[in-house]
Every structure is written in structure tokens, then in C-alpha cells.
């Protein structure tokens, strides 16, 4: 068994029993990074102190000190989440060189439990994209085949986890940005219920949709990470004060086999779904039926409004959220003859094309005379989509859908066709609009490339979702 095959829980036990030293774990992952990152470009920056930090933990162990429960386990963090003193670039020229001045709440919580942060991972600039090609630091490459994209925008995190360059990772998901790359890279990726995890310290793309979540190679790690990062935060008014389950305990201590009622919405399984994706997914559905779960076809009739509503709401919020990158206080600046010209030069020069496209779209959608026709209408569509799901969850535990309509595509294949690229999110944006939790479960491969299925749960039902995923992980032989 290789080091990377242990779970967070196992590492925790081994370190506590002094059967493995934190520096050994970290060195192993650093070695993997050294071997693979040049090709995969999963990391934008590596934490140069991480080995020293691990050795410091070694020393503390040697002195007989009690360490935090997950001491020395290295995580990869998407480069739009602040770690105090480290660069946060958001894969944008405009923030190249910008050092964060504080820890995001999720980082603070993980740090308290002893986790180390091995590096910051690549993404589409400001998390705007579905392939991690729109990065000022170049595209990340799929560990299954470097000719292919990782999916996005948390492509660096997914690749880092899949290629075993970190134990697990954090990503952010606004319209599929955790689930899509998790699917393309064959790992688990969870977008929690909106408000379950604090967004404080996550550089905002679309505030009403953004949510931080974990990516990992097994369900156990997802459950442990979620237990730590979830919860109310005095610094984020949109967090919920619902008590946080110990997901790990729920999934592993409670062995009772549960009955699940699963809905398959016809809007997600019809035309537009690539046959190469459909095959392994239908095989998986067969497995569920064999287990005598209730699996039924349903309808979420307003699904077709999801993509347009998403791209109006997300870009509208983004156009405002990205205003702060004006060259005045931080980040890069390109001078001009006056303030207005300085702003124009700075934003014109240092924002990438896709970011500019979305800022323009959003600015338009919020403008006088268009607000009612676009932004307000999109919000109404959002309510309809929420109601669709509410109806379904009266009778079902989960909605099951493909994560992506296609297999991972080749680098460069969709980069010049924004509409085609936007359709990559067709199955993933609805849970963001509705604020529902959604998890990518890897269920097989086609043409040597991973295929994932998307499990959508009711609000705050992450415990049951993870239990279901764990059952699949253990029982489903691909």
C-alpha cells in the first residue's frame, strides 16, 4: 500500500501512534508534485514552507506533545481562497503577486485541526470557466490524458487530487466548478448546501451561488473535511446556523442499510447527453435498481431556464464583485493620465477575455431599463427552479443526473466558442441556483476518460448523501 492510498482518518491514526511522521507524508506528496506538476500544471504556487512546517510537527511529536487531530496532512487549496501571507492570484494577471492579508474561515478551521497547505491550485480566471483553460498561468491537464481538459473551474484542485499531489483539496463551485472537474478527473467533489460553508476569504465570483467544498479520492475524506469546514460563521451573514453533523460518524458508525428513493429527471437524461457518458451511467442505475432502491423518472419542468438564469445572475453579481480590482489598493496597476484612464488601462490590460465578457454581460443585465427584463426575470426563473426541486423532494431523497453532458474534451476544443463552453454546465447550474447540495460520484470510464454521476440532495442532507456515496464506493464494482 502506498502512502497516498491512506485516508485522512488513517493518517490521523498513524501519526498519533507515531507510525508515520508528518514530514514523510509531505515529502511524498511534494515528490509527486515534482514529478507530475510540470505536465499537469495543477498548481499555481507551492507553499515553500510546508516541509519545514511538517518537520516542526515531527519535532513536537518527538517532544511527546499532543498534536491536533489531523496534524501534517497536506491539502491543496484553490487559488481563489485566501491563506494569510500566501499569494492569491485567482489565476488572473490583475492579482499576480498579491499576497492575502488574512486566512479564509475554512483555512482557519483546517489549520486549527493541524492540516498543512501544500500549494494553491490552478483555476479559470476568477473561477469563470468550465475547463481551467482561462488561466493566466496556462491550462491544467487531465491526469488521465494530458491532451484533455480537467474541467473547471477548480481544475487544478481536481487534477492535484486525481494525480495524488495532495491528500485532498478545496475548490469553489458557482455553477459546477467543483463537480465538473471532479467528474472529468474521476474524483469525488461536493458542493455543499448554500450557507453550509463560510465564504469569508473566498474571492467572490457570484456571491449568491458560490460555495466552497472538498474534492477527494474517497468519501471518507470528503466527510471529514466537510465536518470541519461547515458551520455558521460570524463573518459571513449568509451562513446557516443549522447544527453541523459529524458526517464522518454518520457515514461510518451507522451501518444500517438505508432505503433510498431516487428521482431521474427526464430533462437531464434526454437529448444532448453524449452516449459515451450515458452508457456507464445507465449501468450504474441498473446497479441501484438491483439494490431495490426506488428509482423513478420525474420532471423538473423549468430546467431549460437554468442556463440563461444562471448566466444572467452570475455575471450580474460578478460585474459588481470584480469592481474592486481597480488598481487603487492592491494588485497590478497600469497608469493613465487620470483616475478613469488608470482604471480603464488596468482592467483592460490585466483581465482576461472571458472575465471581460462576463463583466460586460452582467453590467448590461443590471443597467437601467434592462434590470427588470433580465436580472429580475432570472430571479423569477430561479424561484421556479427551486419550486421544481421542492416538489420532487417531497417524495424522493435524491435527484440523480449526469454531471457533464460530454466526456472531457480536448484542450482548445471549445475555447473559442463560449456558448458551447457554457453548455458544459447544463446539468450542474441548477443546484447552485436552488442552493442545494450536489456531489460528483465517479462511476466509470469511457474511452479511458472518467465519467461521473451527480447526486443532488435536499437542503442540508449532506449526511445522507455521503452515506449513499459511501455505499456506492464500497459496493459498486465498475
Amino acid at each position: 500500500m502506498k502512502i497516498e492510498d491512506f485516508s485522512i482518518f488513517e493518517f490521523s491514526y498513524l501519526v498519533k501512534k507515531r507510525q508515520i511522521r508528518p514530514s514523510i507524508i509531505v515529502e511524498h506528496y511534494l515528490k509527486n508534485i515534482e514529478e507530475k506538476n510540470d505536465e499537469l500544471n495543477a498548481f499555481i504556487s507551492i507553499n515553500e514552507n510546508v516541509l519545514d512546517e511538517a518537520k516542526e510537527l515531527d519535532a513536537r511529536l518527538d517532544r511527546g506533545e499532543e498534536l491536533p487531530v489531523y496534524a501534517g496532512i497536506p491539502l491543496a487549496i484553490k487559488d481563489n481562497i485566501n491563506i494569510d501571507g500566501m499569494e492569491t492570484t485567482c489565476a488572473s494577471e490583475i492579482l499576480r503577486g498579491y499576497k492575502a492579508t488574512y486566512d479564509a474561515t475554512v483555512i482557519k478551521k483546517l489549520r486549527e485541526k493541524g492540516f498543512l497547505f501544500i500549494g494553491k491550485t490552478n483555476l479559470d480566471e476568477f473561477a469563470m470557466g468550465s475547463s481551467t483553460e482561462f488561466s493566466a498561468f496556462g491550462p491544467s491537464r487531465n491526469p488521465y490524458n494530458p491532451e484533455y481538459v480537467t474541467g473547471g473551474s477548480s481544475g487544478g484542485s481536481a487534477a492535484a487530487v486525481a494525480a495524488k499531489m495532495a491528500q485532498a483539496a478545496l475548490g469553489s463551485d458557482t455553477g459546477g466548478s467543483i463537480r465538473l472537474p471532479a467528474s472529468f478527473c474521476g474524483v469525488y467533489g461536493l458542493k455543499p448546501t448554500y450557507g453550509r460553508v463560510s465564504r469569508f476569504g473566498l474571492v467572490a465570483y457570484a456571491s449568491s451561488l458560490d460555495q466552497i467544498g472538498p474534492l477527494a479520492r474517497n468519501v471518507e475524506d470528503i466527510a471529514i473535511l466537510l465536518s470541519i469546514i461547515a458551520g455558521w460563521d460570524s463573518k459571513d451573514s449568509t451562513t446557516s446556523n443549522m447544527p453541523v453533523s459529524d458526517y464522518f460518524e454518520y457515514v461510518f458508525e451507522n451501518r444500517k442499510k438505508e432505503e433510498y428513493r431516487i428521482a431521474l429527471p427526464e430533462e437531464y437524461w434526454g437529448e444532448g447527453l453524449d452516449e459515451k457518458v450515458r452508457e456507464p451511467l445507465e449501468e450504474f442505475i441498473g446497479f441501484l435498481k438491483m439494490n431495490r432502491f426506488k428509482v423513478e423518472r420525474v420532471s423538473l419542468p423549468h430546467t431549460r431556464y437554468a442556463i440563461p438564469a444562471y448566466y444572467i445572475i452570475a455575471t450580474a453579481e460578478a460585474s459588481s464583485n470584480l469592481g474592486r480590482f481597480d488598481g487603487v489598493r492592491y494588485g497590478r496597476r497600469k497608469m493613465g493620465r487620470n483616475f478613469r484612464e488608470m482604471i480603464e488601462n488596468t482592467r483592460g490590460e490585466f483581465f482576461g477575455e472571458e472575465v471581460k465578457r462576463r463583466i460586460l454581460l452582467g453590467t448590461f443585465a443590471l443597467s437601467t431599463g434592462y434590470y427588470e427584463d433580465y436580472y429580475l426575470k432570472a430571479q423569477k426563473a430561479r424561484t421556479l427552479i427551486i419550486n421544481d426541486f421542492k416538489n420532487i423532494f417531497r417524495e424522493f431523497d435524491f435527484v440523480l443526473a449526469p454531471t457533464s453532458p460530454t466526456l472531457p474534451f480536448k484542450i482548445g476544443e471549445k475555447i473559442d466558442d463560449p456558448l458551447k463552453m457554457y453548455l458544459s454546465d447544463i446539468y450542474t447550474v441548477s443546484p447552485n441556483l436552488a442552493g442545494l447540495p450536489a456531489l460528483n460520484i465517479p462511476v466509470g470510464t469511457s474511452d479511458g476518460l472518467p465519467v461521473g454521476i451527480q447526486l443532488i440532495g435536499n437542503y442540508f442532507s449532506e449526511n445522507r448523501m455521503l452515506k449513499f456515496a459511501y455505499f456506492v464506493e464500497k459496493e459498486y464494482r465498475r
Partner: protein, 475 residues
């Protein structure tokens, strides 16, 4: 010409911390630049606002005091524009669901200036220009503001000033703001238009910004009325625009026209959840309501028989008004007390540069002092002298008077005056013959006898009267 004015007033709230972070809201000159700042109020990437509920309480208080209708659910919206002092490139403000709608402030004439709305928002930072360079101080960024928007009910610069004075007094009475225009804790923009007398349709309005004192409010509005009237008389047209008041020139200058106006792209701030205002909260806040300045003004005239002018001065300062009432409660004589407060105290405060509320003078001491005066135990001159002394030291007037022997003899000065006249019959005769300068001789005698404690003005009056009688009896 008819003048139509509407005001937009920003009142800075004196909460301990800022509206969306825990930084201190203090940003005076004594605070070094950029020391009361954090990732939230400087708009660092990833930072999120958290609403300070104290701001809501202060806002509700003003809404209640102006009889506004408080919305059951309110929310914050983003007002988007670029400016170097605006850290996030949007101001968190309120737009479609503000704190309150309607309400009014009543002028002394009884005319009600109706309010459109009151809403909460954050202040921006401050630009500091030094030697051709511009610096930004973010201490002020995120300081809470209430914006009060009136309906176009104001018809003269004088009414505008009175409205602002009353609003200032109201926020001071409520203890929610310093309401100081010069310090920027009360700021005012004005919308103004003129139209031919009696015409129903409103004229084209002009917005005037950058009016930083009560004096300038009047001057800016007067200038603008004249400018617009002139324009219309000459057959011209008023252009809808924003104009800046230039203090040194005393004129308004065009800043931007309607075509150049910003599209602020307001939309609900997704970082802040809508706030439900329930009755319990309103009831709780209601306990902080006090008698309003205009009510106090009317009551002072009605119950104490004060002149409008005196009542106005007293009501302009809650501390002064309370001081007045406490004193009157002890010794009555409201008119005399009001006189002493509005004339003598005001004079001393100006002379010493110490405001009454910062002085050592308490109503107990003040009423004790006035008591001695009203009983005739000390003279006006002594009373004035002591008042200034106690204002600075806080001593007990009874003690001073006794220790230093400053009391007048029983029955006041009359026996003394009589005694002096009797002792100097020769001088009295000469006075009656026309040597009127001798009056100062008599006063001098009395001053010596009283060791300077008597009031020479009073003495002069008394000697003149007595001598008049004496001369008559000589004829």
C-alpha cells in the same frame, strides 16, 4: 417665481463600530490615517460585510421621531460606481426596500416638510491631496450613514435652513449623531427648481452638491434661485445637471449633465440577507424616543411664557434646555432663568471657549446662585462675577458668599444709600443745584462700603431716584 427645493441629507451615526465590520467608527483628525481599517472596509478580495444592528436601531429611532412608516422587510443594495475612495467600487446602500418611507419634520410655522424616505448606507474613504499627490484614508470607509430624502416641499432657502437645523437638533436629541455640518457628520445635497408663480408643472431641477455649512446652504440656494430666475427671464432654459457649490466664490458650477449621469446598477447585495423588522424591536427602540425639538419649543412658549427667540435658543441644545428646566424646577422665575442662560451663560461660554455641558456649572449651583440674587442677598454684579468663577471651578456659591462676605446688608442696598445721603448733606445740596457729576462720588462711597460687591448700575439708579426725591423736598 416659485421656488421648489428638496433635500438629501446624510447624517453620520455615532455608533462605536462601522456599519459592516468591527473597526472603530472614529475617524477624527486625531486618528492617524488608515488605522481603523480591516479587510472588510478596505475591500480586500474575499472579505464580506456583516451588518451592525446598532445602526438599525439608530435608524428606526429617527424614523419613529419623524413619524415614518418602517418597512417590515428591508434589504441592502449595491450602488456601483468607480471612485478611488470607494474600496469595493460599490457602496452598500438601500434602494428598493429602504428603512422607512414617508414621515415629516414640522417647521415652527406649522408647515410640514414631508420625507420621501430614510435609508442606511456606508460612508466612503477620504481623499487627501498633498503636494500634487493624492492619498486615501479609509478610516471613514464604512462609517454608518442615514440618508434622509425630503419631498420637494421646501419653498425658500430659509425653510431649507430651518429644516436642517431641526433635523440636526433631532438627531442630537436622539443621541444618534453629532449633526455637525463643518465636521461632515451632517451633509446636504439640494435639488432646486424655479417656476413662474402659480404654475403647476415643476421646472427643471438642478442638484447642488458640496454644501458644507448652514451659511453655505442659504448662499448656494440663493445663488441658484437667482441664476435660474435670470435664465428663465431671459427666455433661456435650465439644464438638468449636477452643480458643485464653490465656497470661495459663493457660486455653483456645473459638474455633470444628465447625459453624463451614472447608471448605478443597483441590485440587492447577495452578501447580506434581508432583515425583518418586528414589532418587538420597534417597541424596544421606542423607549429611546424623547420630546422633539419643535415640541419642546412650543411647550417652552406655552408653559413658561418665553419669547419665541428665547425658546428657540434653549431648544437648540438639549443640554441647555434640560439645564433650564431643572433650574426652573428649583427656583421658578422661568423668564429670568432663560435670560441668564441665553445671555450671561452664552456670553461666558463664548468668552472662555467652554460649552455649558463641558463646564463645571451644574443646575444645583446655578439655581443656588440665582436664588441668592433673587432674594437680594447678592447684587447682580456679584452674581455675574460668581457665575463665571463657578462655571470654571464648580464651587458652591453659598460657601463663597459666606466665606468672602459678599452678601448685601439686609433689605438690600436701600439703607446704605439712605445712610450715605444723610452723611453727605453738603454734596446732596450741590447735586441738587446742578452738580450732577457728584453721582459718581455717592456711588464710590457705596462701593467702598460694600467692598465692591454692589452693582454700580443698580446703585446709580437708586441714588438718582433718592436724590430726585431729596432735591424735590429742598425746593
Amino acid at each position: 417665481m416659485d421656488v421648489v427645493i428638496g433635500l438629501e441629507v446624510h447624517v453620520q451615526l455615532k455608533t462605536k463600530s462601522k456599519i459592516f465590520c468591527t473597526c472603530s467608527a472614529e475617524y477624527t483628525k486625531d486618528v492617524p490615517p488608515n488605522t481603523h481599517i480591516c479587510e472588510v472596509c478596505t475591500g480586500q478580495p474575499g472579505a464580506l460585510p456583516v451588518f451592525n444592528k446598532k445602526v438599525l436601531e439608530y435608524g428606526i429611532l429617527l424614523a419613529l421621531a419623524t413619524r415614518g412608516k418602517i418597512n417590515a422587510v428591508i434589504r441592502f443594495e449595491r450602488k456601483n460606481y468607480f471612485y478611488p475612495d470607494l474600496p469595493k467600487s460599490y457602496q452598500i446602500s438601500q434602494y428598493r426596500a429602504p428603512l422607512s418611507l414617508g414621515g415629516y419634520i414640522e417647521l415652527k410655522s406649522g408647515k410640514k416638510i414631508r420625507l420621501e424616505r430614510i435609508h442606511m448606507e456606508e460612508d466612503a474613504g477620504k481623499l487627501i491631496h498633498v503636494a500634487g499627490e493624492t492619498f486615501i484614508d479609509f478610516n471613514r470607509a464604512g462609517v454608518p450613514l442615514l440618508e434622509i430624502v425630503t419631498k420637494p416641499d421646501i419653498s425658500s432657502p430659509e425653510e431649507a435652513v430651518e429644516f436642517l437645523m431641526l433635523l440636526r437638533e433631532t438627531v442630537r436629541y436622539l443621541g444618534i449623531s453629532d449633526g455637525d455640518m463643518e465636521e461632515g457628520s451632517l451633509r446636504c445635497d439640494a435639488n432646486i427648481s424655479v417656476k413662474p408663480e402659480g404654475q403647476k408643472e415643476l421646472g427643471t431641477k438642478v442638484e447642488i452638491k458640496n454644501i458644507n455649512s448652514f451659511k453655505f446652504v442659504k448662499r448656494a440656494l440663493e445663488f441658484e434661485i437667482e441664476r435660474q430666475t435670470e435664465l428663465l427671464r431671459e427666455g433661456g432654459k435650465v439644464v438638468q445637471e449636477t452643480r458643485l457649490f464653490n465656497e470661495s466664490k459663493g457660486i455653483t458650477e456645473s459638474m455633470r449633465t444628465k447625459e453624463e449621469a451614472h447608471d448605478y446598477r443597483y441590485f440587492p447585495d447577495p452578501d447580506l440577507v434581508p432583515i425583518e423588522i418586528n414589532e418587538d424591536l420597534i417597541e424596544e427602540v421606542k423607549k429611546g424616543l424623547v420630546e422633539l425639538p419643535i415640541e419642546k419649543y412650543r411647550r417652552f412658549i406655552r408653559d413658561y411664557g418665553l419669547t419665541e427667540e428665547r425658546a428657540n435658543i434653549l431648544k437648540s441644545d438639549l443640554y441647555l434646555a434640560n439645564f433650564f428646566e431643572e433650574t426652573v424646577k428649583k427656583i421658578g422665575q422661568p423668564e429670568k432663568v432663560a435670560n441668564w442662560l441665553t445671555v450671561e451663560i452664552t456670553g461666558i461660554s463664548r468668552e472662555l471657549g467652554i460649552e455649558l455641558k463641558d463646564s463645571k456649572l451644574a443646575p444645583e449651583r446655578f439655581s443656588a446662585l440665582l436664588g441668592l440674587l433673587f432674594e437680594g442677598r447678592i447684587s447682580r454684579a456679584v452674581a455675574k462675577k460668581l457665575l463665571k468663577r463657578i462655571y470654571e471651578t464648580g464651587e458652591d456659591p453659598l460657601e463663597i458668599v459666606e466665606k468672602e462676605g459678599l452678601t448685601q446688608s439686609e433689605g438690600g442696598l436701600e439703607p446704605l444709600v439712605q445712610k450715605i445721603l444723610e452723611a453727605h448733606s453738603e454734596q446732596v445740596r450741590q447735586y441738587c443745584k446742578g452738580k450732577e457729576k457728584l453721582i459718581s462720588f455717592f456711588i464710590g462711597q457705596a462701593m467702598r462700603e460694600t467692598r465692591g460687591t454692589a452693582d454700580p448700575v443698580e446703585l446709580k439708579k437708586m441714588f438718582e431716584e433718592k436724590l430726585k426725591d431729596a432735591c424735590k423736598s429742598m425746593d
